[in-house]
């Protein structure tokens, strides 16, 4: 195959990949599915969505009042702006539940690299749904401010 032909084929293949990717991007790009807020997964999703949006007051309402963590602890927590959080697994018993999540952070390189860290969120059953106990992401210290 000549140089000229090879360049032409390369251009066509790359353009085809780009066009297909754009069509898929436009046609199938949907926001994350909203889960039922009365389930442990739904409670975790509501909490995380509020945290990522910076609405700590709303996020704080999903924290167990008997636990150590308060909204002021969320104010002091640090997390990257560019995150994607996936549900890994969940298990439930009569009064408690465990939801495992994967948090994909941008590594900051120009090529869009990322790294994923796994976290476990524990929940307790309350009168009107599930509340998050323990020290959920992005908090690594609770009760420091009185």
């Amino acid at each position: 195959m000549s140089d000229h032909k090879a360049n032409k084929v390369l251009l066509i293949v790359v353009a085809a990949i780009a066009v297909v990717a754009l069509i898929v991007s436009v046609a199938l790009n949907k926001p994350a599915k909203q889960l039922d807020r009365t389930t442990p997964e739904g409670a975790v999703q509501a909490y995380l969505a509020a945290v990522v949006a910076g609405d700590f007051e709303t996020a704080g309402k999903w924290l167990d009042p008997k636990g150590n963590c308060r909204v002021v602890d969320l104010d002091r927590a640090y997390f990257a702006n560019d995150v994607k959080i996936s549900l890994k697994s969940s298990s439930e018993s009569s009064n408690s539940a465990v939801v495992k999540i994967g948090i994909e952070n941008s590594s900051g390189d120009p090529f869009g690299g990322s790294f994923t860290e796994d976290h476990t969120i524990r929940l307790v059953k309350a009168a009107n749904g599930w509340l998050i106990s323990g020290m959920p992401w992005p908090m690594y210290e609770c009760g420091g401010v009185k």
């Binding site: 754009l22 990522v52 549900l87 120009p110 090529f111």
Partner: protein, 567 residues
């Protein structure tokens, strides 16, 4: 702050003084080449340092000017630093730049100096990499409708502007042949960025199409496909400028061939083979082995990326291979490529063989492991290495051996072949001897301390695995080397040097070089109108001459061959 500025100015002033001092010394003795080179080194080093300082200062000031409202607390120290960078650096950069330009105008030889080409190469590469990453970040911000970041915008603008200026100045002043390294490095930057972007596009598209991202609870990041398309766009533009418009059409010498063969053909092939192996291994573990993930979606989460790597690797391999389709001559670079790929295939297979032996020994001995260390997974990874590495080695080694049969006098005398054989039977032999010593030591140790038993065999499993595979490799390559050791190895064939004097012809030097392997230089006659070169006549004149250095003059009467004496 004043002390800080002064402390920064002192080294700059010292370098200026050194440059001026050396300039004075070298002008006093214009024939002093060593001092001239040293002066040039300092001059270009200073120019490079000033370029980086001024670009940083300008980008910092412009970024601050564009969106001052984004700053909660005024950073006076950075403002002072950027101001001093620009106020001190810019006049110095202009002054030394003009001085350099004057030097180029006064002495045409300076355009041919490697030091000038080195400066342009380093400066262009720095500005290209910073400009490329800043532009990608800027376009991503725009595509995801994030807040406009003035600093990213100014970085992209200043460094891309710097790159354009260096490109134009470099191409106007420096001899094109000396800029080949710069062009190849730029091509490599564009090539890597395009490949990474394209892999990201394919991976994100497959993820979206297969619904593998349906487990996403929350996302604040911009769209993966668009992000990767931005990398393809910017990387592709760099590649187009450096490779498609420039390097592709340049002289196809050893450096050019090395880039195409090693980065293009070899890089593409290795990428595809490694990614395909990982996918094969993951699939085998899921169906036959012991996967650690419960859900198929988690276990195969890396498959979209590896599929992208396989597709893009094969595309890169095919494209670069097709560039070599017209080339008939086999150079040392081709041999290096063949032996590297063959060696990778062989080492992968040898590691696989060792792992299978180790896994077999582990399976026969009662294990004391409580958690982890799945023998079936070890066996599958070993099988994958053999299944993938084995065919690669067989294909490339058979091709090498068939070329040896076709032209044994050239292939057997190749230094690359000799190094390959030495490395494999040498390193393989050393590894086998070390394994043997360690094994015998363990045997004696257990025997003398009264601990000889099934645990001894278990301790020896690695030693046996390594010993068997390296012994096979070493003995095979020794048997080949044994028949070839009488052949004299050539450390690069002593090619002829030919100066052609005649009419201008862009292709003649390249064609003669391709046909004869000689180093060819064309000097154009001022009175060469009406004359034209005949490639076959020139090739015949070179091959029929027994002399190494020739001058071939073309005039109205025909070719005149003048042999020269090598001193």
């Amino acid at each position: 702050m004043i002390i800080g500025v002064f402390s920064m100015l002192i080294p700059i002033a010292l370098v200026v003084l050194v440059v001026l001092g050396i300039r004075k010394i070298s002008s006093a003795s214009s024939k002093n080449q060593g001092a001239g080179s040293l002066r040039n080194f300092f001059q270009y080093a200073l120019l490079l340092a000033l370029m980086v300082i001024v670009a940083n200062g300008l980008a910092g000031l412009l970024g601050r000017l564009i969106n001052p409202s984004a700053m909660v607390l005024a950073d006076d120290a950075s403002l002072a630093r950027n101001l001093s960078f620009v106020i001190v650096g810019l006049p110095l950069l202009a002054g030394i730049g003009l001085w350099t330009r004057k030097g180029f105008q006064a002495d045409a030889h300076r355009a041919k100096e490697p030091m000038a080409a080195l400066f342009v190469t380093v400066a262009t590469l720095i500005s290209l990499i910073i400009g490329l990453s800043s532009t990608i970040e800027l376009l991503r911000n725009i595509a995801s409708a994030n807040a406009f970041d003035g600093q990213t915008f100014s970085n992209a603008l200043i460094w891309t502007g710097m790159w354009i200026a260096l490109w134009v100045i470099g191409n106007r002043t420096i001899l094109a042949r000396n800029l080949q390294v710069s062009f190849l490095l730029g091509s490599l930057v564009g090539y890597i960025a395009s490949i990474v972007g394209l892999v990201g596009v394919i991976s994100a598209t497959i993820t979206q199409l297969t619904g593998m991202n349906s487990d996403v609870l929350v996302t604040s990041s911009s769209h993966d496909i668009v992000n990767s398309l931005v990398v393809v766009l910017v990387g592709g533009l760099v590649w187009m400028q450096y490779w498609y418009r420039t390097t592709r059409k340049s002289e196809r010498n050893n450096l050019w061939n090395a880039y195409v063969l090693i980065a293009g053909v070899g890089g593409g092939l290795v990428m595809s083979v490694v990614a395909a192996s990982i996918t094969l291994y993951q699939t085998a573990v899921w169906f036959i082995g012991e996967p650690s993930a419960v859900l198929a979606r988690d276990h195969f989460s890396g498959v979209p990326s590896s599929t992208g790597v396989v597709i893009v690797g094969l595309l890169a391999w095919w494209y670069h291979k097709s560039l070599l389709a017209g080339s008939t001559s086999r150079t040392e670079v081709n041999r290096i490529y063949d032996y590297i790929i063959s060696g990778i295939g062989l080492i992968a297979s040898a590691v696989g063989l060792s792992m299978i032996l180790i896994a077999m020994l582990e399976a026969t001995i009662q294990s004391t492991l409580i958690v982890g260390g799945s023998a079936i997974n070890s066996f599958l990874s070993a099988a994958t290495l053999i299944v993938v590495g084995g065919p690669v080695w067989v294909i490339y080694w058979r091709n090498i051996q068939s070329l040896v049969k076709q032209s044994p006098e050239v292939e057997l005398a190749s230094i690359t072949r000799r190094i390959y054989l030495f490395l494999l039977f040498g390193i393989g032999g050393i590894a086998a001897i070390i394994s043997l010593i360690v094994g015998v030591y363990q045997l004696f140790n257990d025997f003398l301390t009264g601990e000889f038993g099934s645990s001894t065999l278990r301790d020896l499993r690695y030693v046996i695995g390594v010993l068997v595979s390296t012994a096979i490799i070493a003995s095979y390559h020794w048997s080949i080397y044994r028949h070839e050791r009488t052949v004299d190895v050539s450390f690069g064939s002593p090619s002829k040097s030919v100066v052609l004097i005649g009419p201008a012809d862009k292709q003649i030097a390249h064609e003669i070089r391709e046909a004869t392997g000689a180093r060819v230089t064309l000097w154009t006659r001022a009175d060469g109108e009406g004359l034209s070169w005949s490639v076959s006549d020139v090739v015949a004149a070179i091959t029929s001459s027994s002399d190494d250095q020739l001058v071939i003059v073309l005039d109205a009467a025909g070719l005149k061959v003048i042999p020269l004496v090598r001193k």
